[in-house]
């Protein structure tokens, strides 16, 4: 085993240590120290990840096993790490972007009291720890541990400002919706364990490939498992029908939204499905379902994003929409494309969120873009980086977004032209709402209050440097996966991931490919122009008709409330008010009551009259004698 792999345990361990120090010493540590520890530990694991990455790139993979987490008769689940292309890639994303966001947070959160400052960083470190566990785990159980861990941290960080019950409500919502998915995920794991007798990726996949279609692992099993896993993914990665928690999750601090709800955690679902690609490539039905769900989510979220006014909400819905794209890719069997988009999306979406954070910071907590405008003058760096981010997400060459999105669109085209059409349309929508956001925020005239205007200022270096770095990444990040049609042998990512991800290689003529690219590029440019025309200088307008429908997020939250939340509540009340006291408990008490009632009645046999006593006795005797002599004879 590669020597550098011995260090693998450091990657999650360092953030854990950071968590412990910050968590336990939160009352002693000064802000500098806790910030330093928080960011430093992540830096450390980033460096280790780099080591490991380059040794993976030189072709080494390994499963590093530490101890037996569960060992019973017939089941052994080791606590082991799997180090291969996929996990090492994610390691880099998580630790790298994580580090930048930690740095950013140091300045962003500086108004907090030192103890809650430390609390913030301890949560953040804990999150990174769990996320690393998630991607490092060599079996579904360890993956699930990280899976739930990130859910917990997201819960804690969304509700970070716990005085505000709206935030804590959003936190609960996020955790519970994730739990719904987790249940499906767990059931999938159980199913696999029962069928294959193991939970580790290698053994499971070998077993599945070996016995697929046989009685040991029937087609039904494959469908069930793949479906359950997918449901699990929809919870974590905010797909239909479980996406509504993500926009609410914006209640957390903006860096958190950047790290957890854009760059890393929400992509866990994609990671998990990509991990299980061997199972999925055997489940065509599920794949189709995934592609459609992804597409639907992308479209839905995009339409909603059109009419949002909270800068973070727009980004949140765009995140949902981009995740939809990734699932579309997965569904079309283009796992590499999906992972590619995860990578690029991580760059530019983190960038956008941090940019918005910088804006909010400048506006003194204001998030409504209707109150902004014309900030480009004051916030130069933010503006430029934000613009890059927008271009990247809109998918203009040669920025990163272009390549990944193009790959997805291509795969969709090959898989199902209709999906391609919708996806393309959605891409245009993306460009539209992103530039709407850009124009409303940075162009036109300032619409906020006077003291906000006075307060406007560019954020300090600790915040702008991460922006710049991310902007660079968003520009160049796509060049690791340049399709063959543009440049030969340039698809480094595809070849790097090839051992892990089964790539569907069906050839398409260069002509078509050119056509598709140009189509999307031209479309995007036109959309941007349209947006410019519309929002160059913005005037408040009452939205009506379909737009109104979009503005209210398709009333999905209300729908869920009617269909699920309320019924559960009323059923619970019914049980509490009626079934429990009036039925079950009444039955129990009824027995006791009956006994007492019987006592009350039988008592009257004892009339106190000798005559009646004798009479009863004689009657009894006569009956017995008669029965004995004339019946029982």
């Amino acid at each position: 085993m590669q020597s550098s792999f011995q260090l693998a345990f450091l990657i999650p361990l360092l953030p854990l240590i950071g968590f412990l120090i910050n968590g336990l010493g939160r009352n002693q540590l000064s802000k500098q120290w806790s910030g330093l520890i928080g960011a430093g530990t992540i830096m450390g694991s980033f460096l280790v990840s780099l080591f490991i990455f380059q040794s993976v790139e030189s072709g080494n993979t390994a499963v590093v096993s530490y101890f037996d987490f569960i060992r019973i008769e017939g089941l052994r689940i080791p606590f082991a790490f799997q180090i291969d292309a996929l996990s090492s890639l994610f390691l880099l994303i998580i630790t790298g972007i994580g580090f930048l966001i930690h740095v950013y947070s140091i300045s962003y959160m500086h108004e907090e009291s030192s103890s809650s400052f430390a609390r913030y960083f301890s949560y953040l470190n804990l999150f990174v720890f769990s996320m690393l566990l998630l991607v490092l785990g060599s079996n579904y159980v360890v993956l699930f541990i990280g899976w739930e861990g990130v859910g917990l941290c997201s819960y804690l960080l969304i509700g970070f400002w716990f005085k505000n019950q709206v935030y804590t409500k959003a936190a609960n919502k996020a955790f519970i919706m994730n739990r719904i998915g987790d249940l499906a995920f767990l059931l999938a794991i159980f199913w696999l364990i029962i069928k294959t007798g193991s939970a580790s990726f290698q053994e499971v996949f070998e077993f599945v490939q070996g016995n697929q279609g046989t009685s040991k692992f029937t087609a039904t099993d494959i469908t069930v498992v793949s479906l359950l896993l997918f449901i699990g993914a929809t919870g974590k990665s905010a797909q239909l029908p479980l996406y509504t928690w993500l926009p609410d999750a914006m209640a957390g601090p903006t860096p958190v939204s950047a790290l957890i709800h854009a760059a890393t955690m929400v992509t866990a679902g994609i990671y998990m499905i990509a991990r299980s690609n061997i199972i999925y490539s055997l489940a065509p039905f599920t794949l189709t379902l995934i592609s459609w769900v992804g597409l639907a989510t992308a479209l839905l979220a995009a339409t909603i994003a059109l009419r949002q006014y909270d800068i973070k909400k727009v980004l949140a819905y765009s995140t949902v929409s981009q995740l939809g794209f990734m699932f579309l890719a997965l569904g079309s069997g283009a796992y590499v494309a999906a992972v590619f988009h995860v990578l690029t999306h991580a760059f530019f979406k983190a960038l956008l969120f941090l940019g918005s954070g910088s804006v909010i910071h400048a506006m003194g907590g204001e998030q409504d873009i209707r109150k902004m405008g014309g900030l480009s003058g004051k916030l130069k760096i933010t503006y430029v980086t934000f613009l890059i981010g927008c271009l990247a997400i809109a998918g203009l060459p040669p920025l990163s977004g272009f390549f990944s999105k193009d790959a997805i669109l291509l795969s969709a085209f090959l898989h199902q032209p209709l999906q391609y059409g919708i996806a393309l349309f959605t891409a245009f929508l993306t460009a539209f709402y992103m530039f709407r956001l850009l124009f409303l925020t940075f162009h036109g005239s300032f619409r906020g209050t006077a003291e906000q205007q006075a307060h406007l200022h560019e954020s300090p270096a600790l915040m702008t440097i991460p922006l710049i770095v991310l902007a660079l990444l968003s520009v160049v990040g796509g060049w690791i996966g340049i399709p063959a049609v543009l440049m030969h042998e340039a698809d480094w990512l595809g070849s790097f991931l090839a051992p892990v991800l089964s790539s569907s290689t069906h050839e398409v003529s260069h002509a078509t490919e050119w056509m598709l690219m140009s189509l999307s590029v031209v479309g995007v440019l036109l959309t941007i122009g349209f947006a410019w025309f519309l929002f160059r200088n913005y005037r408040e307008r009452e939205s009506k008709g379909l737009l109104r429908f979009f503005e209210h997020k398709w009333y999905v939250d209300e729908l869920y409330d009617r269909l699920i939340v309320k019924p559960i509540f009323y059923l619970g009340r019914l049980l509490k008010e009626w079934v429990e006291p009036r039925f079950i408990d009444a039955l129990v008490n009824g027995v006791g009551k009956t006994v007492q009632l019987a006592g009350r009645q039988i008592r009257f046999l004892q009339s106190g009259q000798i005559g009646s006593y004798v009479l009863l006795m004689v009657l009894a005797m006569v009956t017995v004698l008669l029965v004995q002599f004339f019946i029982r004879k």
Partner: protein
């Protein structure tokens, strides 16, 4: 045999003693000494040492079982006198005479436990009943006592009539009064046999207050002076049960199939009526009367299933039930208020008394680690050998009994007394004696072998 004669003599002595000895405590001590002596003599006989050599002419048969039963009764009687002997003084002026009557009754008890001829059974029952009529009515000014006495007397002699008719038929069918197994199976099936069997069944059921012949019990127990109720409800009852068992074990063993269903029916009826009626009572004394009926239902299981278990069980039952009930009545006789509220807050004022009472009631309810539990266990085990459903009815009724027994425990421990001056005053030694009795009950529940060991060694 020793005990029988000596107790009669002691009775006469005590009757005379009232002439010479004026100090009641001396008489009490004398009675206690007498009892101790009787106990010793009984044990001596158990070890085969007899005071007089008399040819019993097959009228009496003091086998081990009878002697052990006697020992139990004597022990219970001893504790009875210890605990509530002095309480008798409150009943009336004729203290020595009450004690004398007790000793006469003792003689009767030994006759019914050891009879080998129905003549002795009859005499024994009468020797028990007639003094009991007197004791029941001994509180002359108290109308309840009078009423109880008359009811007891009329109904009692009525049942005596039944008993005698049964014996007469028996004589007609068998030509003798011997209570041993019938050697001649031909006569077994005859109508006379049947009639005598049933009539004796009725009469005995009446004496041990088994439903539907139980009607006298609540009224008499309620009306009689509490001290004597305690005696009637415990020692007398277990003695008569011993007689009952012997009658159906030996005399009518061949008609087993005939009487067993009837006994089963009586068991169920008794358990139901006894327990259910007790649930609703307001006076603890009357509740105990009904509970004694309920317990009789359990003891009747010993008659129902005549086998080793049931006979041992009856011994355990006799001991634990008598001791517990005697203890409870002893406390009760010191209380002014016989309702459940009379016990309120006793635990705070008299922790030892309350603890002992709690043990007694737990034993009656059949909670493990008390004699009562093992006794019930034996009975249920015996019944299970024949009829599972009978056992199930029995245990369900045992649960019902918790309803009323625990009302006292709740009153003592969980409620507080509304007025303190209602609280009873006990003599100095009383709590200790009570505790000893309670410990005996517990010991019976933990090491029953010590008692059952007497049966066979």
């Amino acid at each position: 045999m020793n005990a029988l004669l000596v107790s009669a003599i002691l009775g006469v002595l005590l009757m005379l003693s009232s002439v010479f000895i004026k100090n009641k405590s001396y008489i009490h001590t004398l009675a206690l000494a007498g009892l101790a002596g009787l106990f010793m003599l009984n044990l001596a006989e158990l070890n085969g040492w007899l005071l007089f050599e008399i040819d019993l002419k097959g009228m009496l048969r003091f086998d081990r079982y009878a002697l052990v039963m006697n020992a139990i009764m004597l022990a219970s009687l001893f504790f009875y006198l210890l605990l509530s002997g002095r309480a008798m003084e409150k009943v009336g002026p004729h203290y020595a005479d009450y004690l004398a009557l007790l000793f006469f009754i003792c003689a009767g008890l030994f006759m019914v436990t050891g009879y080998a001829s129905l003549l002795i059974l009859f005499l024994g029952i009468e020797v028990i009943s007639i003094p009991l009529y007197i004791l029941t009515g001994s509180d002359k000014r108290n109308l309840k006592s009078n009423e109880a006495a008359l009811k007891y007397f009329l109904l009692g002699s009525f049942s005596t009539g039944l008993l005698l008719l049964g014996i007469a038929f028996f004589y007609g069918a068998r030509g003798n009064f011997s209570a041993t197994v019938s050697v001649d199976p031909t006569v077994v099936g005859s109508s006379l046999q049947l009639a005598s069997l049933l009539l004796l069944l009725f009469a005995m059921s009446f004496k041990v207050s088994v439903a539907p012949f139980h009607f006298w019990t609540p009224d008499v127990y309620d009306g009689a002076p509490t001290v004597f109720t305690s005696f009637m409800a415990t020692i007398v009852k277990v003695a008569l049960f011993a007689a009952f068992v012997r009658l159906f074990e030996d005399t009518f063993s061949l008609q087993f199939s005939i009487w067993q269903p009837w006994v089963a029916g009586f068991v169920v009826l008794t358990l139901l009526i006894g327990n259910l009626t007790a649930v609703f009572q307001q006076s603890v004394k009357r509740m105990l009367a009904y509970s004694s009926i309920a317990q009789a239902g359990f003891m009747l299981l010993a008659v129902y299933a005549i086998n080793g278990d049931s006979k041992e069980g009856l011994l355990l039952y006799a001991a634990s039930y008598s001791l517990a009930t005697i203890g409870i009545f002893a406390v009760l006789s010191h209380l002014q208020d016989y309702t459940f509220d009379g016990f309120n807050g006793l635990a705070k004022k008299q922790p030892v008394v309350a603890a002992s009472l709690a043990i007694f009631f737990l034993s009656l309810a059949g909670i493990p680690l008390t004699g009562g539990f093992l006794a019930k266990l034996f009975m249920i085990k015996a019944a299970l050998a024949y009829q599972p459903w009978l056992a199930i009815v029995a245990v369900i009724m045992a649960v019902v009994s918790v309803f009323y027994y625990f009302r006292v425990i709740q009153a003592m421990y969980f409620r507080s007394a509304d007025d303190q001056e209602m609280m009873p005053e006990f003599p100095k030694s009383f709590p200790i004696l009570l505790l000893v009795t309670a410990l005996l009950v517990v010991l019976l529940g933990i090491f029953p072998e010590t008692l059952l060991g007497l049966l066979y060694f």
